[in-house]
């Protein structure tokens, strides 16, 4: 069956909801019992990377999730029902990811699945969620949702995707840092995404990539790659990840010394690493993309302040219990915002039981603007119901005296690209 687009609009749902509330007082006894039955908690299956390569992210995704759920419950839950998190470890393993999704649907009776970060786990789990008709809200920033490779049951409403992030950097880089760019990236899908998306975007800005330097992912020393950087490079774009990042920075410093090109990187390289760690001094004066500014800025919003306090993070993005425990601040807001989208979606759909899962998806698909608020502390967002992907502001920070100081905020328009899929044409 093909569901007509926006069959359930937010307005429609709200109307039905208001009617229902007005009629509740006159309900017969059996219906009131039915009402009582639904005061059972709403069960959210949290697919968390507790073990495996995603464990460091998993710890902070867990903290943010619990903080958001505590807040939602303090505020009365969803549709008057408390929210319960059912956490299952997927071992950062796609096969186990699919099993976890299955457990959510068949064993734990979860209303939805939520929280997956690593792309390969999302790609491994999403088909099963589709088969089981379990709404699956991922927080992965991968382009796989908007690219059309997943299904109607998979949505990414709380974090922007890598394609939009990368392309939004190009205008700032071209205008402020230089038009001749050399890219250095790990030689696998993550690095290739950056290579492809940024190369196109900088060309659209009249710039060019002079050289693409792909580094094998298991490399532990980088000295031999640096001579490949062309002499006339104005900007060096780097996205190295893994245990050798500190070595990368150190060797970069040894190679260039004080006469370096402008350096621009993605904070993914140094997520959860203190930027003022010994060995990272060379990054002073360089630029970073940040999904959410780790260090509290001068123009910090009250919502960011509230969010930091709720999650237990200080003005440097580190834990208030241990300042050397730096959070994954650029990404973890996605859990907070996704849970608030789920709440808004369930309320708009008048969600009562598993039978309303399709209604929930339609309600989220109907969403568009999400203003900066307590529910969206990272910034305003624009949701695209067709591609199931949210778009939002991106931040560029400059390392200044060991602090990440925000120097540019992209517009949401900078992050948009033509739709590659329309999930709303797929049947439930």
């Amino acid at each position: 069956m093909i569901t007509p687009k926006n069959a359930t609009t937010r307005r429609n749902v709200l109307k039905t909801l208001a009617g229902g509330a007005a009629g509740a007082a006159t309900l017969p006894l059996w219906a009131r019992y039915a009402q009582a039955q639904t005061s059972e908690p709403i069960k959210i299956g949290f697919q968390v990377h507790r073990t495996g390569i995603g464990a460091a992210y998993g710890r902070w995704y867990d903290r943010t999730t619990m903080a958001a759920v505590n807040l939602i419950n303090e505020q009365g839950g969803i549709n008057g029902r408390p929210v319960e998190i059912v956490a299952e470890d997927d071992g950062t393993d796609p096969k186990r990811g699919a099993e976890v999704v299955e457990k959510f649907a068949n064993q734990h009776g979860c209303d939805i699945g939520f929280g997956t970060l690593f792309s390969h786990v999302v790609i491994g789990s999403s088909p099963r969620a589709g088969e089981l008709k379990l709404p699956y809200f991922v927080v992965s920033e991968g382009h796989h949702v908007a690219s059309g490779m997943l299904n109607r049951y998979t949505l990414q409403p709380g974090i922007t995707d890598v394609k939009s992030q990368v392309q939004a950097m190009a205008p700032f880089v071209a205008e402020n840092l230089g038009k001749k760019v050399t890219m250095i990236f790990p030689d696998f899908a993550f690095g290739h995404d950056h290579r492809d998306f940024f190369t196109r975007a900088i060309e659209a800005q009249g710039g060019e990539v002079l050289a693409h330097i792909a580094v094998p992912p298991a490399e532990t020393s980088f000295t031999k790659y640096f001579p490949k950087i062309p002499q006339d490079t104005e900007v060096l774009y780097h996205v190295m990840v893994g245990p050798a990042v500190l070595t990368f920075v150190k060797e970069l410093g040894e190679f260039f010394g004080p006469s370096r090109p402008e350096i621009f990187g993605f904070i993914d390289s140094l997520e959860a690493v203190d930027i003022s760690s010994p060995g990272l001094e060379y990054l002073e004066g360089t630029y970073f993309w940040e999904g959410n500014p780790r260090h509290a800025q001068e123009d910090q919003s009250e919502h960011d302040k509230f969010y930091r306090a709720a999650v237990g993070v200080d003005e440097r993005g580190a834990s208030i219990s241990d300042p050397s425990d730096v959070s994954t601040y650029a990404h973890m807001f996605g859990c907070w915002e996704t849970l608030h989208v789920i709440k808004a979606g369930m309320e708009a759909a008048g969600y009562q039981s598993h039978a309303d899962r399709a209604k929930l998806i339609e309600a989220v698909e109907a969403m568009t603007e999400m203003p900066l608020s307590q529910a969206h502390p990272q910034g305003a967002k624009l949701f695209n119901g067709k591609t199931h992907q949210v778009f939002g502001h991106q931040y560029i920070s400059k390392v200044t005296d060991g602090k990440l100081v925000k120097v540019h905020t992209t517009s949401i328009e900078d992050t948009l690209y033509p739709d590659e899929v329309d999930y709303t044409t797929q049947s439930f």
Partner: protein, 425 residues
Amino acid sequence: MLPTDIYISAGAATVLLTLVLLVFLPERTSEKLFSNFGFWRAKPLPLRHFISCLSAVVLGWIVWTGLTGTRDPLANPLPLTVWTVWWVFLVFIQGFIGNHWQYTNPWTGPIAMLSKLTGLKPLLRYPSQLSYWPGIFLFLGFATVLMVDPAPADPSRLARYVGIYWYLTLLGVVLFGPAWLVKAEAITIMMRAYQQMAILGRTHSRLSVGLSGWQILRKPAPKPTLAVFMLVLLGCGSFDGLNETFWWFGQLGLNPLEFPGRSAVVAQNLIGLIAANVVLLLAFISCLVLGLRISGETETVIIAFCRYAPTLLPIALAYHLAHYLPSFLVEAQYVLKYIYNTLGLGDFYVTTGFFSRPSTVKAIWLIQAGAVVAGHVIAILLAHVLALRAHGTTRQAIIVQIPLAIFMVCYTVFGLWLLASPRGL
């Protein structure tokens, strides 16, 4: 970022120096190093069976919570108890401090109770030709769960493994008597082997203390199959570390930064686990054969194999400490968090910040490297004492020992390299 190559060479040099020193030290010195001091005339603790029954009750309860409690492996008491408290901590304590397994073993108490209540006698004789082989295979099975199984920390999966193993062991003892526990039950064999490494032990009616390894020198050489078990202990321990290195991922043709998860490498890790043990066995036997050849000794390799196998225990134990120390520092906090939450003491904050502070990173690495080097030095000293006892002169003992000593120096480098090399997990 630490100058690990310097530490690796320093470690290897220390072990090598020990070896050279042995050439010049008087014969009795190394033997004296391992003398023990009886310091307390104490009877064994009473209530042995009671504590064991308590241990069984706790085991039953955590298996139950594994099946019914939270699915989060870092919040459920079963994986926390099995993998953090027992496997990392209690196994180390057994090998370093003293034999707690005679109390904490969850079978001896229930069996004693069972036989008292029912007058039960073993129904069958344990077939002597089986020797320790069931124990070896069961330990390999345990190592397979630890290193190959896709989700060893999943509470319900682990609950089934633990519950079934406990029950089958009980059945084994009912059928074959205590011999089953001593020769076929892998955990007890491991605990009894490691117990010989403890600084505390019993001599007659006294509690005694001595340099780690002193108890090995007071025991007769193990049976050949028990000696094989000791090598398997080290072989499995070494692979549990190797399987996380970038080198291993390279052999498998996988990108460690995009690791597809344990379920994608089940067959490879199983093959690796078996191969690691076979290679270790062959290397060890080759060194012994070579030592006997160049010294012109006529004793059989089996006798030498049984004599020197226990000298690998300190290496295995040291590697156990070094390998698990970082994960233990994190997971032990989850144990504390569980205790805090259960006792209503508020929340306990789990931090990994110490992995980002250079001072603590250095301290952790030095403890790891120190443990590995100390383990190898003790291994070489033990092998030297045993060689001296077996062969008439220091000269002869040293010649026999040369290949084995080179093997141990290489193993030091390998162990330190394992700790220092980049990991994908």
